[in-house]
Every structure is written in structure tokens, then in C-alpha cells.
């Protein structure tokens, strides 16, 4: 059972914008498409936008990457993320990625134990900057600074929570920079405008 380098079964915990969220015990290496089908597909027949394949700490993957990937270590790594805890968060096209990142970064801000410097100070910094962007008070320079702060936390802390707080920031900005820039420029979400237009 499983695929090469990733043997055995695993329990995927699929949540988010799916019709049948739940826990699915399947063999490692199952194509993401099959897993999505097990979970009933994207809710209300909407388009898939992005997936966080291994819990909130791993890097987010846009639909076009995750739809080609299999759910094992090697394949997800090649796609630019990792299997993590196998908690799969599915997001459909109505999702505001800035809002999602603000929520994730707030989680790491409040979970930081405060022992070592980069995470104690950096998680709050990142959360405040993202919160400011979300509130329409972002500045163009914030984008590069945000990634730079995440880079300075990553690999510098005692435990992995520092890395876990940095990866979402890096990947969200990498894949959805335009959504952040829209907030900075127009003070509102690109997503609601799109849905208004549709």
C-alpha cells in the first residue's frame, strides 16, 4: 500500500469548501483529485482555488499544482509543499487569500511560546502587517518586507513553530501576491470584486 518512498495508509482530514468534509483513511500517494472526490468535491460546484495539503503550517498550493499532484511526500514536495499532518484544507474560488493568511498568521502569533526571539517578535509583526493590509492600510513596501520577515524567522528558531509561521506567509505572497497588492492599491479584496462582476 502507498507509493514509492511513502508506504502505508494515512488518514487525510479534509476540511474547508468540500461537500463531505471528514477523515479518509487511504493509501499514501492517492491522487489529489481522487481524495477530493472522496470528500464530495468542491461545494456548490464551485471552482477549486487553492489547497493547503498538510495542515496550516505547510505551503499553500494553487489549484493547477495540487490537481496534478499525488498525496505523498515526494509528489507534494515537487509541487512545492509537503504532506505535513495530512490535514487538507480546501479553498474554493470565493476565498479571500489575504483574509486566510491573516487568520493563519494570527494563529501562529497566539501560539508562539515566546521563548526565542524570531518567533516571539516576528509572528506578531507579520500578523500586524497582514492585518493592516486587510484593513486597507497596506503600503507597497509591505509585500517585500513581509516575505523578508518570514525569511528571517525561518530556520532561526529553536522549534519548528517559527518555520511553520513563515511558510504560509512566503507561499501565500508567492502565489497570490496580486491579491495583496489589490488590497494595498484599492483597500478591498479582489475576490469580492470578481464575484460582484460575475
Amino acid at each position: 500500500m502507498g507509493s514509492e518512498g511513502s508506504g502505508g495508509p494515512v488518514v487525510f482530514s479534509v476540511s474547508g469548501h468540500v461537500n463531505r468534509p471528514g477523515n479518509f483513511e487511504v493509501g499514501l500517494g492517492i491522487p489529489f483529485r481522487d481524495l477530493l472526490e472522496l470528500a464530495g468535491g468542491v461545494r456548490d460546484g464551485r471552482k477549486l482555488k487553492a489547497v493547503i495539503p498538510g495542515g496550516s503550517s505547510v505551503r499553500v498550493l494553487p489549484a493547477e499544482l495540487i490537481l496534478e499532484a499525488n498525496m505523498d511526500h515526494k509528489s507534494l514536495q515537487e509541487a512545492g509543499s509537503s504532506l505535513g499532518s495530512a490535514a487538507v484544507i480546501v479553498m474554493d474560488e470565493t476565498t479571500d487569500m489575504v483574509r486566510v493568511l491573516e487568520r493563519i498568521s494570527r494563529f501562529y502569533y497566539s501560539e508562539s511560546c515566546g521563548q526565542c526571539t524570531p518567533c516571539r517578535e516576528g509572528t506578531g509583526w507579520m500578523n500586524r502587517v497582514i492585518g493592516r493590509i486587510l484593513a486597507g492600510r497596506g503600503k507597497p513596501a509591505d509585500m517585500d518586507m513581509l516575505v523578508d520577515v518570514a525569511n528571517k524567522i525561518e530556520g532561526h528558531t529553536i522549534c519548528a513553530l517559527g518555520d511553520a509561521s513563515a511558510w504560509p506567509v512566503q507561499s501565500f505572497v508567492h502565489h497570490y501576491r496580486h491579491e495583496f497588492e489589490h488590497y494595498i492599491e484599492h483597500g478591498c479584496s479582489i475576490v469580492s470584486q470578481q464575484s460582484a462582476a460575475a
Binding site: 524570531p118 516571539r120 509583526w125 532561526h156 528558531t157
Partner: protein, 733 residues
Amino acid sequence: MSNDDQLEIEVNGVTLPARKGQMLIEATDAAGIYIPRFCYHEKLSIAANCRMCLVEVEKAPKPLPACATPVMDGMKVFTASARAISAQKATMEFLLINHPLDCPICDQGGECELQDLAMGYGRGVSRYSERKRVVRDKNLGPLISTDMTRCIHCTRCVRFGQEIAGIQELGTTGRGEHTQIGTYVEKSVDHEMSGNIIDLCPVGALNNKPYRFSARAWEMTQHASVAAHDCVGSNMFAHVYNGIAKRIVPQPNEAINETWLSDRDRFSFEGIYAADRLQSPRIRIDGEWRDCGWDEALSAVAEGLKGIAADHGPEQISGLISPSATSEEHFLFARLLRGLGSVNIDHRIRRVDFHGQEADPVAPGLGMTLADLEAQQALLVVGSDLRQEVPIAAHRVRKAAVAGADVFFVNPGNYEYLFPVAGYLDTTSSSIIDELAGLVRAAFARTETRPDANLAEVLAAAEVRPEHEAAVAKLIAAERATVLLGLIAGRHPGYSRIRMLAAALAAATGAQVGSLTEGANSGGAAMAGTLPHRICGGAAAETTGLNAAEIIAAPTRGMVLMGIEPELDCANAEGLLERLADTLFCVVVTPFATPAMETYASVLLPVGTFAETAGSYLNAAGEQQEFSGFATPVGAARPGWKILRVLGNLCAVDGFDYVSAAEVTQALAAVCEDSEPSIENTGQLAPAVAGFDEGGLRVPIYAVDAVVRRARSLQLTKWGESVPDISKPADAA
């Protein structure tokens, strides 16, 4: 250390020796390669939480903290590569985002580790435009000020409590960005060495409260000195602004105080500037006190003393001097009194049992270094409230206990010790002597030793309990064992019995005997000859004069008191003031003028405190330490050796032609050249004492001498409250 432990590492292309088990930062520190750090401290455990010492290690995927990375043979380290510097700069930026930019009003400014490293690793302009964290300050008591917004959470202060003090007074509460250092429940930080967290704090979060806002680091001059309140003589630096001492910090000396300083030594200097400091010589003429010049005062003293000698005989002159006076003062004091023909000289002003004083050590003390004390495997502490008497020695004993030594106490009470105590031998229903006798009897039974006639009498009534046998077994089993006599033992009316029993116990168990001594310089005083039965250098005096207890019980017609407030510094001082008032001529050489002194003195001579005079101390470990004065004398005060020199000349006594303290030191050294500071401690049997309040022998930590009693901040602490009111400075709230 075997050669197997040696290995080599390469740092920035240079090969360095290292020892297996060392952390990288220890090897680079030893080689003089600086790696920035905040949380690392050589005396504390490793936390690795500040992340400032991140360096690049070949083959490591991430930068590694040098403080928590063990050296490996052949490892290649880059402390200043682009990756290392970028990691260090990242940490610095994180530390600074929530750190207030208040350096101009921060006492740490100019001597701040964060400020210094920000120069090298910080950005010119902050990128952080969010709100900064603000943290409520804590009230940690009268010694330590807090500005907790400045805290960078290095946890050095927390680890100090856990590991050095033995009581965790500070801890972290909250998580993440909301982490705070504090006491959790509002309370003061009370440990007798708590002031060290001021030095440990790398930023301005914990600072010196009495010193607050009174000077800037770069305006002060730094003077090395030696602490004057206990028998270890901690090394310290005084920071002085315009001749006024502003604060005291430790001077590292691994042999004595390591990097620490007791609060008493750190804050006592406040007493120098007490309101009742004697500003000028004062003289009483026809019952009226008035200020006068030095010439008039010194002539009056010389005439007064010569008059007593002529009219009543020199045996009617006695001198008592503080055991914390310098060796030079003791030397000249003894020479002056002997020159006048007096033999009644003593510095042992808290001692009451002088039986067998001929067998006293030439220079009493531990008979070992403080490092040796720390290396003991079994210790029996007899009659000592160790933490209050000599905090630095207590710290060494604590280290021994934490390393596994068995420490037993025979004390009038179960004083609190912050380390594992193998046994408190109960004296609540008996006395120190009874407990010791039980121990000796147990030891003799175990080693089949027969007591001599003297001992047999004491041992006959002794009761042996199982805890005596257990303690004796540990003393015998330990390779390095010591019976340590404390200050309570030395003040005990049965002291001669105590030390005879201690010597017998040590002999039977193969232990050493050591003593803690009164004041800063009992050893130096004994060598310098302020004793009624010995002259300078330790040789027996031709005639044995009155000892301190006899002088206190019946003062002679003429009295010379130096550096003491007799009613507070002497044993059995009840009624002493009245007795002193009946003397014909009493000269008091003192830094302070008390109302009591005006009732009995004839002349008051203002003398410099330890801060204002040059001299030397001989500590309990046998180390002679010289120092020079660091503060401008208050008022017309003069160094003690100068006052005594002029008095010697005026009294036409030979041997007073010294022009510097160093010359006195040399003269003293020349006399003592052949004297071995023996530590033999045998003693002889004195009449038994019964029904004595042993607890009354304890002198509170901040009541030991006139300067400490006037140190306002110390008196405001928890321990200061136990000091009698009379000793509180008039202006203390």
C-alpha cells in the same frame, strides 16, 4: 584531562583547540573570537533563546546557535560569513522592534549589550511601523528598578534564581509576545545576592534602584576595591562621579567572588553618605561639644592619653578597634597603644569566651581556599547563619551541596538554606555544645578513639542520637570533609568548648577545621597585633592585657575606640554606654557621630570609611588584598592610618614615619614575613555555660557594621527590618 578530550575545530579558517563537550562559544571566547550573545552567560545554564549567536556551520542546513552547539572534531565554523551575519542581523532586528528607543533616559545607556550590538548589527532606520509592546513595571523591592518594556526575554535573571540563588524569585508568565518577566505574585526579590541580576540583565530592564538617574556610565571613573563587610573580601569596582561613589559592581575573581557580589557589598556604600557622618573633628570642653580643627583635636588626644598614662598608669588605657579596619590601621593602632605602654588592645569585640586564646590561629580563617570549600564532599557547619554571615561562602557551600556534598548544620535555629541539606541537627532543646559532644562521642565510638581527660568530662553527659551517627559516617566516608565554625560559634560563651569539640571531631573523622571570621579583616587584625596577648606577627606578648570582654565589662580610665559603635558592635554591651561615660578620657575615631558618642566621648575624630582610605585586608582564605580609596572623604575625614600616624608622632612613639599606606603595608609585611598563618584550632576547656540564649548571637545581615547599618536601601529590604531602630539612618522613611 586526557588527550582524548582534545579536539580541533576550524573557525573562520583558523584552527582552534577545543575540549570535548565544550560549546562552540566557549572555544571561540577562549580564542578571543567574539560572537554576539544576550542569553548566554558562562555561569548560567544554556537557554539558546536569544538566537543572537547564530553562526554558520559547514554541512548544517541552518545557522546554529554557538552557545548550544557542541564542538565536533574538524567542524568548520564561520562566525562572520554572509549567512551568519544575516542571521545575527535578523535577530537584532526582531529584538529591536519592540524595544523602546529610550536610550537617552535609560541608565543602561552607554553600557548596554543591546545598544552595543545594535551598533554593529542593527539597521539605521527601523522598518517596524506597528505599535510597540508596552509592559507594566514590577516592584521588586528597594534594590532593583524595573523598566520591563525594555526586557528582551533572555531569562538570565530567571536562571540566576534557579541556579545560583537556589530560589526562583523571577519567572516568565504569559506566552509569545505577551511573555513577561516577573514575580507572578507581587513581592520583592529578597535573596541576599539578588543585586547580581542587575549586572546579568543585558538591557535596562533590571537596574540599580539606588543609582537610578544619578549618573551616566561614561561620566564615572572606575576604581578597583575590596568589599569590607565579610571575611571573603569580594573584589569589586566602585563607579565614582566627582569623587562621590555612585554604585558598586563586582570585579570578577574566580578565586573569591567569581562574578558575583552580595547585596550587602553592593549597596552598603550608601552608608558612607549617611546624614550623621562626622564632618569635622569635635571636642568636648567643659561639657560643651564644638567643632575644631585637626591640630587642636589631635593635640588634645595626645595630651589626654599621655595624661592618663602619667596620672593613672598606661594600664589604664585600652583600645578597641573594628575587625573591618584595614591591616594598616590595626598595625598602627597596636603600635600606638603599645607605644603608650598599654597592653589592653583587642579587635574581637563580639567574642566573649577567650579561654585558650593562646592557641588561637595566628591568622584565623578557613584554612583553605573558597574553591576548596566548594570541593568538600561533607561539611558540618557549626554555629553559622551562613547566608547572612558570608553570602559568598554560602554560595560556595551551596555549589558543593548541589554537586552532591552532604551538608549538616548545628545551629540555634533551622535557618533557611536553598540547597539540599543532609541534616539539621536539632538544637531547639539542647545547645550547640551538646550536639557537638554527641557527634564527637559518636565519632569516637566509631573510630574507637579514647577521649583525653578534658574531653571525657564533656562527653560523659553527651547523648548520641542516630542523626549524630549518620553525620559522623558521612564525615568519615568523605575524602574531603570540613567542620566549619561560623560567627555564631565564635560569639558563643562556650566557644572554647565548641572548637575543642570541633577539633576532636575533625581529628576523629579525618576532616579539616575552618572558621569564618568577624568583619572583613580579622585575619589581618590578628597578624597586625591588635590582640592583648600577641604582638604584630603573632609572637606572644610579654604581658597579656585585657581582652575585649574585660574592657567592655570594665572600661579603663582612658579609652581609644576606632571604627565602632560599641553599643551595637560589641558583645554584652548592656550598660556599656554608662560605663564609658564614667571614663576620664575617651577618644572615638569614627566615620559617624551618634548622640550616644556625645555622651561618653571626649574627642571625636572623623575617619575615612573603606571607600576613602587605602589599605589591605587578609581574607579568610588567607589572601592579602590591597586597595586604594575611591571616594573623596566626606567632610574633614582622614584615612585612619594618617590619623594614627600623626597621633603616634604627637605621643612621641617611635615608628610612625610613614608617608603612604603602601609604606605601612610594607612595614607590616616585613614584621609578618616569618609568620605562618596557622589554622590550628585546639582550644582548652572552659567552664560550661548553660541556659544561654544562643539565638541572640545572630547578628542580622544588614546590622554588621556602622556603614551597613546606615545603608538606606539595604535597611528597606526584608532583612533590614530586623535591624534595631537605633541603627536606621535618620532620613530613612
